[in-house]
């Protein structure tokens, strides 16, 4: 006989089950974990001084047992630099998305909830930002902020001020799609009965926005934010590759690619290793995001 007393799955359990069924997503999660282990664990093996130590007598060496990934234009060890560069690249990716989630959620929430004039002004502003391709905005903003923020120390290490600049500008140039998603959630949710009920018992507007509607939009925000991390890492790579991102000697996967095309014939190690690491990271995050979309928001499935 069927056991009807078995408790039903909670929404969280269901989401985890759906996620685990998505093989690519699980693969993405493991790949991302492996990359994090690589950049964190690697820093226990190599010191940062070693990653920034340059010896021009061994510049542009092909991979060897001493330097498994070879050396770069000024003779720095590429393996050690991919480790420290990876820490910065991944941090920039996550931090930039946090900025864009904050801005996008706030703008989308206010526009969707208050409607009318507020909606009109905020959405015109969003459209204005969407009208210029992101990379162009990034370059202009990066030039605008360049050298306005000084180098700083954190975790006992010296960082280029351009790290902060790039986090802020990637965040400020990538919130627009998220704002639209959040706005559409707010537009539909605010008409539902539980919001009317909340109004009736005298809940304030901020209370309704942050306690009632926002938690109901977390699934959509999480999915968009996850996919946003991949885009942020790529955006950092492009900006740094073009020389408008993070400055040397702080390594990122993006600025390691800088000038790689000038040594095309002699030093393929300059672009292969950082390039592949960016690809693997973006790939794992995209798989993960796809799985999260299936798990958290089955209706959004395409």
């Amino acid at each position: 006989m069927t056991n009807f007393t078995k408790p039903a799955f909670s929404p969280t359990q269901l989401a985890i089950r759906r996620f685990c069924r998505h093989k690519m997503a699980v693969f993405g999660l493991f790949l991302l974990a492996a990359l994090v282990v690589y950049v964190v664990g690697g820093s226990l093996v190599f010191s940062e001084e070693y990653a920034n130590y340059n010896d021009t007598s061994i510049r542009l060496q092909l991979p060897s047992s001493e330097h498994p990934f070879g050396t770069d234009v000024v003779g720095r060890d590429i393996l050690a630099r991919t480790i420290y560069g990876g820490q910065i690249s991944l941090t920039i990716g996550f931090a930039a998305v946090m900025v864009s989630v904050c801005v996008g959620t706030l703008i989308g929430a206010f526009a969707g909830y208050y409607g009318g004039m507020v909606d009109g002004i905020l959405m015109r502003f969003t459209e204005a930002m969407l009208n210029i391709p992101q990379l162009f905005l990034l370059i202009v903003a990066s030039k605008y902020l360049a050298d306005k923020i000084h180098n700083f120390r954190a975790f006992g290490r010296e960082f280029s001020g351009s790290v902060i600049v790039i986090v802020v500008i990637i965040g400020l140039t990538s919130w627009m799609y998220l704002a639209r998603i959040v706005r559409s959630r707010f537009l539909s949710l605010k008409e539902q009965e539980f919001i009317t009920a909340a109004h009736c018992i005298g809940t304030t507007n901020p209370g309704i926005i942050f306690r009632h509607i926002l938690p109901n939009s977390v699934a959509q925000i999480t999915v968009a934010a996850t996919l946003g991390v991949a885009n942020a890492i790529l955006a950092e790579a492009y900006a740094s590759f073009l020389g408008f991102g993070v400055r040397q000697p702080t390594a990122t996967w993006g600025n390691m690619l800088e000038d790689a095309n000038r040594y095309l014939e002699s030093a393929p190690q300059l672009w292969i290793f950082p390039g592949l690491l960016i690809l693997l990271t973006a790939l794992s995050i995209n798989f993960l995001g796809d799985g999260l979309r299936d798990a958290l928001d089955p209706r959004m499935r395409i």
Partner: protein, 343 residues
């Protein structure tokens, strides 16, 4: 319909004003345009002061923006740079089609852009055609043979495609098809420029030089587009009218291409409509790597020198194009789907 178009155009005007104001304020502080003025360094401080006055760079930002927007032929400006405004300016402002002159080359911005635009359009339109053809083939085949090996491989590759950093792809293509093909004695592709200087500008030369950059630009978009086409095709295939068409005994091919595809193509119009204006901008990274003398390169070169009249020109051209293409896309919709009305 006419009223709708007029309303959309009127709505676009404040939008463009907001965009131009944001960009202008950003650019004003972007760096010192006099550092590389006219290709030479301005060293003497009295020269600097004079030039700053002549160019109107000593004025507050809002005055500079106003001059950029409506020109300065209605106000006295300081043309000889002695600190006393004496004669009327000559600039007509953007709203009368004058985008000013480049700080670097001293040529009108319109001319500078006109020189580069055809190169970018050539590259990007070719890429867009390649993208559409391949993405349609891959997307439709994937949808029709859902969960087949082809579908799985295409899905996997499309994930790799849109996770691909352009520098890796572009430099990788160069390394394989230019450097190694040369080494192996195979016919190899050129890496930079539009044509060999000694061979001159000819169609075969152009095609030969376009092969690698077009591949680099299209790969990522093919990946994204084909997923999109697959999804919208799958959605349409499960509709009732497709079942009806099958029930009345139509040939499968006719059902797929006349009934399903036409409806599945509708969302594609939006995608293409959003992407087409971006073609004007060119692909900054790809043009940079392949030294293609297009808009992306122009933008990069003039950003380094803080030449904001040219940068404003490029960015405003893109914004206007985006606005126009949005209106065109919406109008195309009414032709493709008679259920949509805007009146």
């Amino acid at each position: 319909m006419t009223r709708y178009i007029i309303r959309r155009i009127l709505q676009a005007i404040p939008l463009l004003l907001i965009i131009s104001a944001i960009l202008f304020v950003l650019m004003e502080e972007m760096g010192d345009p006099l550092a590389t003025f006219g290709g030479r360094k301005v060293i003497r401080s009295e020269d600097r002061v004079r030039l700053t006055r002549q160019l109107g760079l000593d004025k507050p930002v809002y005055v500079q923006y106003l001059v950029w927007l409506v020109g300065n032929d209605w106000m006295k400006v300081d043309l000889d740079g002695d600190g006393v405004p004496e004669s009327y300016g000559t600039r007509k402002g953007v709203i009368r089609g004058d985008f000013g002159t480049s700080f670097v080359t001293r040529r009108p911005v319109i001319e500078v852009i006109k020189q580069r635009l055809p190169n970018t359009l050539l590259l990007m339109l070719t890429a867009e055609i390649v993208i559409l053809i391949l993405a349609l083939i891959i997307g439709i085949t994937s949808a029709l043979k859902q969960y087949s090996i082809f579908d799985h491989v295409a899905t996997g590759l499309s994930f790799v495609g849109y996770s691909m950093p352009i520098p890796l792809l572009a430099i990788g293509l160069m390394y394989l098809f230019a450097v190694n093909f040369k080494k192996w004695g195979l016919p190899y592709f050129p890496t930079v420029g539009m044509f060999e200087p000694e061979a001159g500008r000819s169609v075969p030369q152009l095609l030969w030089h376009m092969a690698l950059p077009v591949t680099a630009i299209s790969t990522i978009s093919i990946a994204a587009y084909s997923r999109y086409i697959r999804a919208s095709m799958l959605e349409v295939i499960n509709q009732d009218y497709i079942r009806t068409a099958r029930a009345k005994g139509l040939r499968e091919q006719i059902i797929m291409y006349r009934h399903a595809f036409k409806n599945a193509a509708l969302p594609l119009v939006t995608l293409v409509g959003l992407d087409l204006p971006m073609l004007l901008a060119g692909a900054i990274v790809t043009e940079g790597i392949f030294a293609w003398p297009g808009m992306g390169r122009l933008f990069l070169d003039h950003t380094v020198r803080s030449d904001f009249p040219v940068l404003m020109g490029i960015l405003m051209m893109i914004s206007v194009a985006v606005v126009i293409f949005q209106i065109i896309t919406d109008l195309t919709y009414t032709f493709l789907d008679p259920r949509i009305r805007y009146d």
